[in-house]
């Protein structure tokens, strides 16, 4: 106990020192070598939690260079050469489309779908949750292909990037600020959300990330804020006599243009008025408080939710043909006075009061605590230790919400390295698949097939419906069907039969008829030396009558990847 207190004091001292001189040499952190963890085990633990598991030889390399050196470099990802993954990413067509291109593609696909339906070929609408039954037209197919690329790109980056901690943090924010790709226009809005909203800010200031997410079309659409309007407000298009008709995102929303013919224009205007949003929509406001910032017990009331929604009225989206970007509709904004959590927002303000609100929320203790707790849950333990959360909150205060410093504090804290937290987390499907691919020196291709494996195991990327994002708790992932699926994936991957990835088993173990040597190599290369006696015995038994050394190696690797040790990190 005393040791622990001492260790915590030392951490604080080290963290303070490191904040004072962030680029300082890593030797100054006193508790880096905590008792019970060898350099090898520390490197393995760091690679399990701050990366998607080790690639062949990586544990030894990190141990040799010093695990804290490695962590410090990971915290400055821009300085890590990542040409390999940049080149690979460049082969994904999705990155050659900007958000405007995609919005126009969406508009074209929607038009195409309506045209096809007019011709009688039935097909579910794009905002149906279910996968489309029919392949659709050229534009729709392109849209789906690009959506598949976005998922696969995440898997490729996780598997190949040298900026591993950065990719882990991107995944964390993707879930913290979850949007669902399957909701209508989000299919085309989400790629820029990932690339332009979340990725550039994954290790930046939380307030910047929060504001960027709030004004991202993907979030505005997903949680309906784009159609949240002050009661009684009306778009200029409805008050002007005639404009060109243009389709809008989704269906049954207000129509921004009318016929040239007066009688028809009147009836169109009536219909449009019927469909006009009649008032505020609280969805985003509620999740902003409950999930993105304060947390469910963050001390806000239903009245606060309403006031937040009023402040954010008018934060909306341009039409697809205009690029589908963010747009503030002053006609829809509620210019009255509001009070949120006791803070007064005086009347007469427009978009600026929304920014003020988001900065306020980002700076509140409840937010620091809520987000820090989630970070500790991701990086340390499903049940985050209080000490970890305290360290993170302290760093948040010192650094005004600099995520890099918050993560640094967590990783330098004693809880991260505590024996009870080593191997304490079960991998999510994404973590399982990517760590397995990395363990066998695997190289995923650009087809969406590996992402489909992740989806089959229960974690279709960017397709978590509810705004809370994929859970970090093992109960969400461990069930009988999912475990069998993991075993099948493991066996197929080891045998080189998993579609979409090539493996390099030679980098783990040379095929050999010597079972003991093979088992030792698999233990070292796949399980980081954590193989239990039972696992060793079972693999040995299975190898007993294996004739072919190549098949024997695939079997041993498959059992190790599908076995219980590899499910943990």
């Amino acid at each position: 106990m005393q040791n622990r207190v001492l260790a915590r004091l030392l951490t604080l001292a080290a963290a303070v020192a490191s904040v004072a001189a962030p680029q300082s040499a890593p030797h100054r952190s006193a508790l880096r070598q905590l008792p019970a963890l060898t350099p090898h085990d520390s490197a393995l633990h760091a690679l399990d939690r701050l990366a998607y598991g080790p690639r062949p030889g990586e544990v030894d390399a990190v141990a040799a260079g010093g695990v804290m050196n490695w962590i410090d470099r990971q915290l400055s990802p821009d300085q890590l050469d990542d040409r390999l993954v940049a080149e690979r990413a460049a082969t994904f067509r999705i990155l050659r489309y900007d958000s405007g291109d995609l919005a126009r593609l969406y508009a074209a696909a929607s038009e195409e779908r309506r045209e096809r339906q007019r011709q009688g070929a039935g097909q579910p609408a794009m905002d149906s949750l279910a996968p489309p039954a029919d392949l659709g037209g050229k534009e729709a197919q392109m849209g789906r292909r690009l959506a598949g690329e976005v998922e696969q790109l995440a898997v490729v980056r996780a598997a190949l990037s040298r900026r591993q901690l950065y990719e882990v943090m991107v995944d964390f924010w993707v879930n913290h600020f979850n949007v669902f790709f399957g909701k209508g226009a989000d299919r085309v809005l989400a790629p820029s959300y990932i690339e332009e909203t979340l990725r550039p800010r994954a290790l930046g200031k939380f307030a910047d990330l929060l504001i960027a997410a709030a004004r991202s079309p993907a979030m505005l659409f997903y949680l309906d804020n784009w159609q949240s309007v002050a009661p009684g407000s009306m778009p200029p298009a409805l008050t002007r006599p005639r404009l060109q008709a243009r389709p809008w995102f989704g269906r049954g929303r207000y129509v921004p243009g009318f016929s040239q013919e007066p009688a028809r224009a009147d009836s169109q205007r009536r219909r449009a008025l019927e469909r006009m949003p009649k008032g505020i929509n609280e969805n985003y406001a509620r999740e902003l408080l409950e999930l993105h910032t304060l947390g469910v017990d963050g001390g806000y009331t239903q009245q606060d939710v309403i006031e937040v929604a009023r402040i954010l009225t008018g934060w909306s989206i341009k039409r697809p043909q205009q690029g589908g970007g963010f747009e503030f509709h002053d006609w829809a904004h509620d210019y009255g006075e509001k009070t949120v959590l006791g803070v007064r927002f005086p009347a007469g303000h427009g978009m600026d009061e929304g920014v003020r609100l988001l900065k306020l929320l980002a700076s509140l203790p409840a937010t620091m605590h809520h987000v820090s707790r989630k970070l500790c849950q991701r990086l340390v333990n499903d049940e985050p230790p209080d000490g970890c959360v305290d360290d993170a909150v302290a760093a948040w205060k010192r650094s005004s919400g600099d995520i890099r410093e918050v993560v640094r504090a967590i990783v330098r804290g004693p809880d991260f390295w505590a024996p009870q937290n080593i191997g304490a987390k079960v991998k999510t499907p994404l973590e399982f698949v990517v760590s397995a691919v990395r363990a066998v020196g695997g190289d995923p291709d650009t087809t969406p097939r590996l992402a489909q494996v992740v989806a089959r195991l229960g974690q279709p990327l960017y397709r978590h419906v509810a705004p809370d994002g994929y859970p970090e708790r093992e109960e969400a992932w461990v069930n009988s069907g999912a475990l069998l699926d993991r075993m099948n994936v493991a066996v197929a991957l080891a045998a080189g039969r998993l579609p979409g990835v090539t493996v390099a088993l030679d980098s783990v173990a040379l095929a050999t008829g010597d079972a003991e040597r093979l088992i030792a190599a698999v233990n070292d290369g796949i399980l980081g030396g954590t193989m239990s006696d039972n696992t060793r015995r079972v693999i040995r038994d299975e190898l007993a009558d294996a004739r072919d050394p190549v098949a024997a190696r695939a079997l041993a690797v498959g059992l190790a990847l599908g076995g219980p040790e590899f499910q943990r990190q």
Binding site: Q123, L129, D224, E474, N479, M487
Partner: protein, 420 residues
């Protein structure tokens, strides 16, 4: 494992709940500590099959109010002519392509609840499906689904891994939550895969031993469940399945799902809840009337349900099939000879315990004055009252307020779908 141990573990789990100490991990740990009993020999346990028509089915063309002239006035091009509907009671009739269901109506094992839906006014598929599956209309942050919450709170049946099964590649929202449930894409592919049977059995055994000796915590209990499930299923021998009574399932995902549900039921694997979904109901354009797009979807649905009933034969006695869809469609046809997103719809209930042969729920009529927001069929039965009735009267659920938080289904509002 003796029964007394099971009871002990169960009451231990319940004690935790009553103390308010029921975080997810404890809940799952409590589930995990029940060891499966041998396959249940009793084959008369109540079973619920939920079928989600994703995309919002046009309830007015599925169960046609052919007795109302307004229906024909509002739908000049897509109304089903009165001469073609399968009349049910002089006022309502089934779409002609659902004719396969008429015998079930006649023998009182098919009922209709009309004008049922959500109290929430959203016309977004995404939100409305979400609400119908979470069971909490208007509340987006509910993380689990109502079928799962039922499993959490009614622990009488959780003695087999096949208690709650969804057919599809992923677990749907309706079954998400702390109670264990399975997503099965294909019954025949469930378990470990290997080219030959001997290799498969050997691989299965190897993994079983790996997990039995090396796994801890939830990994240990879940893997035990998994291998027991594989074994149970092998005994039921799904590859050899032939439907009984010449039941002819329609081709496609719905027919396959229904057939596999029948397999699980007849295999006596302890199935209590099954879920499947079927898409293609979002008929904005060229919906058709007696023929056409919607008719084709309804034909598949009708044939599927009829084949399921026929295949089950006597076993239908203990089974209720409940269809659901996120909302209905506009009363008036739109400019594209289709219908847009509306409000109330119709749901079907089929099975032995069903109070069939009648259209249930209060019919609000199509009169403009009684419409929702002046245009859509009004909801007179909250879907939670229907779902709640099925849970309570068919499955014997005792605590509906735990299944539908923030809502207390009231027996006096139950539509009467299940025979008393």
């Amino acid at each position: 494992m003796s029964v007394s141990r099971r009871v002990f573990v169960k009451s231990g789990g319940l004690a935790l709940v009553s103390l308010g100490l029921d975080p997810l991990f404890l809940a799952r740990a409590a589930f995990a500590s029940y060891r499966p009993l041998p396959p249940p020999t009793a084959s008369d346990r109540p079973i619920l099959v939920c079928l989600f028509q994703r995309g919002a089915v046009d309830g007015l063309n599925m169960v046609v109010p052919h007795g109302e002239s307004l229906y024909y006035r509002e739908r000049p091009r897509i109304a089903v002519p009165a001469s073609e509907v399968v009349d049910l009671d002089g006022h309502f009739g089934l779409h002609p392509r659902l004719a396969a269901l008429k015998p079930l109506w006649d023998n009182k094992s098919l009922g209709v609840i009309h004008a049922v839906g959500s109290p929430d006014s959203t016309r977004s598929h995404f939100d409305a499906q979400d609400y119908m599956e979470s069971g909490t209309p208007g509340a987006k942050s509910t993380t689990d689904g109502w079928l799962n919450r039922y499993c959490q709170h009614d622990r009488e049946h959780d003695d087999t891994p096949f208690r709650a099964v969804a057919f599809g590649p992923q677990l749907p929202r309706i079954l998400a939550g702390s109670a264990p449930s399975l997503a099965i894409d294909d019954l025949q592919a469930f378990g470990l895969r290997a080219p030959q049977e001997a290799a498969r059995d050997r691989l299965t055994r190897a993994f079983e031993e790996l997990y039995a000796g090396s796994a801890t915590g939830l990994l240990s209990s879940s893997s035990q469940e998994a291998f027991e499930a594989v074994q149970l299923l092998q005994q039921a021998n799904p590859t050899q399945y032939r439907p009984d009574h010449d039941a002819d399932y329609p081709r496609g995902r719905l027919g396959r799902s229904l057939q596999q549900i029948a397999q699980l039921i007849k295999g006596n694997l302890g199935l209590q809840l099954a879920f499947a979904d079927v898409t293609g109901w979002d008929t904005h354009v060229n919906q058709g009337a007696s023929e056409g797009q919607l008719a084709a979807r309804l034909a598949e649905l009708g044939q599927g349900l009829a084949a399921f009933a026929q295949d089950l034969g006597e076993r239908l006695r203990d089974v209720v099939v409940l269809t659901m869809s996120e909302f209905g469609r506009t009363i008036r046809e739109n400019g594209n000879i289709g219908t847009d997103h509306g409000h109330a719809t119709a749901m079907l209930v089929m099975g032995g315990p069903v109070n069939g042969g009648r259209v249930l729920g209060r019919w609000p009529g199509l009169d403009p004055a009684s419409r929702f927001e002046g245009r859509d069929l009004a909801v007179t039965t909250d879907f939670r009252d229907l779902f709640g009735e099925v849970l309570a009267r068919h499955l014997g659920a005792t605590d509906l307020s735990a299944v539908f938080p923030g809502f207390t289904p009231d027996p006096t509002r139950f539509p009467g779908a299940i025979r008393g």
